[in-house]
């Protein structure tokens, strides 16, 4: 396939990529990898997992059987696939422990003590489930109904976790801004 890639014509790029055009695929990767990887990283807190999710997501885009629907905007779709993949892993890993990870354990996991002035650190203070729900609801616009469906819980389950977690984060923000460096 040697037809030139026209900048800005994303549906055409996707089509070409799905039909085996390497250059088109590489271009789509270049355009969207950071966004996808960032989301996966925020949700899982783990670079290796984020890489796996990114790979799955981009390869899924190429499938015809039940994959990306032709003509839809690509990035929101990619992010949704990535978020679903992160949720699935979370559900698999936490199947037997839905209890909360303590702050000390969370710090130990990440190697560095979270600094509240660092917003990423604020996020990391939350256990993985809470972090995922908060981020997807607050920053990615998922509704409680959507979150609940994915986790096979009720919307009120999602609402209560998100509001508790937000309250916790807001408190920490308040407390720590009192101790500016």
């Amino acid at each position: 396939m040697n037809s030139p890639i026209i900048a800005g014509d994303e549906p055409a790029l996707v089509r070409k990529a799905r039909w085996g055009d390497h250059a088109a695929f590489d271009e789509l990767y270049r355009l969207h990898a950071a966004a996808v990887y960032t989301l996966a990283h925020r949700l899982t807190g783990n670079p290796a997992t984020a890489e796996d999710i990114t790979q799955e997501t981009f390869l899924r885009m190429l499938q015809f059987l039940n994959g990306f629907k032709d003509g839809l905007p690509l990035r929101p779709w990619l992010k949704r696939v990535a978020a679903n993949a992160a949720i699935d892993r979370l559900r698999r890993d936490r199947h037997h422990l839905m209890d909360e990870v303590t702050e000390e354990q969370a710090h130990a996991e990440n190697g560095t003590p979270a600094s509240a002035a660092d917003a990423a650190g604020l996020l990391r203070r939350l256990p993985p489930l809470q972090r995922t729900l908060v981020w997807l609801h607050e920053m990615e616009g998922w509704t409680h109904a959507e979150l609940a469906a994915r986790f096979r819980q009720s919307p009120s389950w999602s609402k209560s976790i998100v509001s508790r977690s937000l309250a916790k984060l807001r408190d920490e923000l308040e407390t720590d801004t009192g101790h500016c460096r």
């Binding site: 037809s3 089509r15 015809f64 059987l65 039940n66 629907k69 032709d70 003509g71």
Partner: protein, 264 residues
Amino acid sequence: MATLSNIACVLLLAGAACTPAGATMPATTAPAVLLSAAQDGALDLGAVIDFRRVDVEGVTVLAVTPGGLGERLGLRAGDRIVAANGQSLAATNRPSSVLATALSGSGAGLRLDIVRDGQRRTLSGALDGQGPVADKIEGCGHISSGGTHPRATRDVFPVVVLSIDGDHKLPVRSGYYRVDAGRRVLVVRELIDGQRFSEFGLKERARQRERHGARLDKVLIVDVQPDTSYFVGAQTSRPISTSAIRDNSYWEPVVWRTVAESCR
């Protein structure tokens, strides 16, 4: 030396018969507690069984669904099921009903007498009342093969829907089908305009159709959300090369439009 048919068989076997690592299902009758994956009340064995051919040794298992009841029972592709809960599948005109009865949860267990590698074995397990109800969503939606296909802009052309969920006798071949919400498996045939092909390409396409017929049709799985209509079509590669016609890779079924539309 691997021949093409060997590879194909391996594809089928590999797809069907891989058991997960660590799953050491005993071939004898040690009962394991299983969860039932209920679909409309009756149990779904999670296997593809050839009910078209019944012989004295029962019916053949062609594939076992990963994660399904059959897999957990230790069933494998190639097994022949002779009896279910003592009822013979071999000596009947309706083996699928016999199996369905056995699966409908009367009694606490499921016992399958099978033949594997020429040897008789029994697979059994206890059924645990409730389990995760797989894939069942309330509501309905529509599949449409109509609409104004974006031929020029997106290389999408009409198709005809031949079957939905394995049922080739569709109620009305209207091109507009009401379906339950959930994953629907369509088999479609391309109806790409002749002008899209070169003269040679057109001849080649006709030759392939002559030779392969319905095998050229393709599957599209649509995850139908409630109150949503999905417009399906065939998207072509550009250009359409002769080799692509020969290996049937010049088109793929796609959903090219999704519309919110209430369904009752």
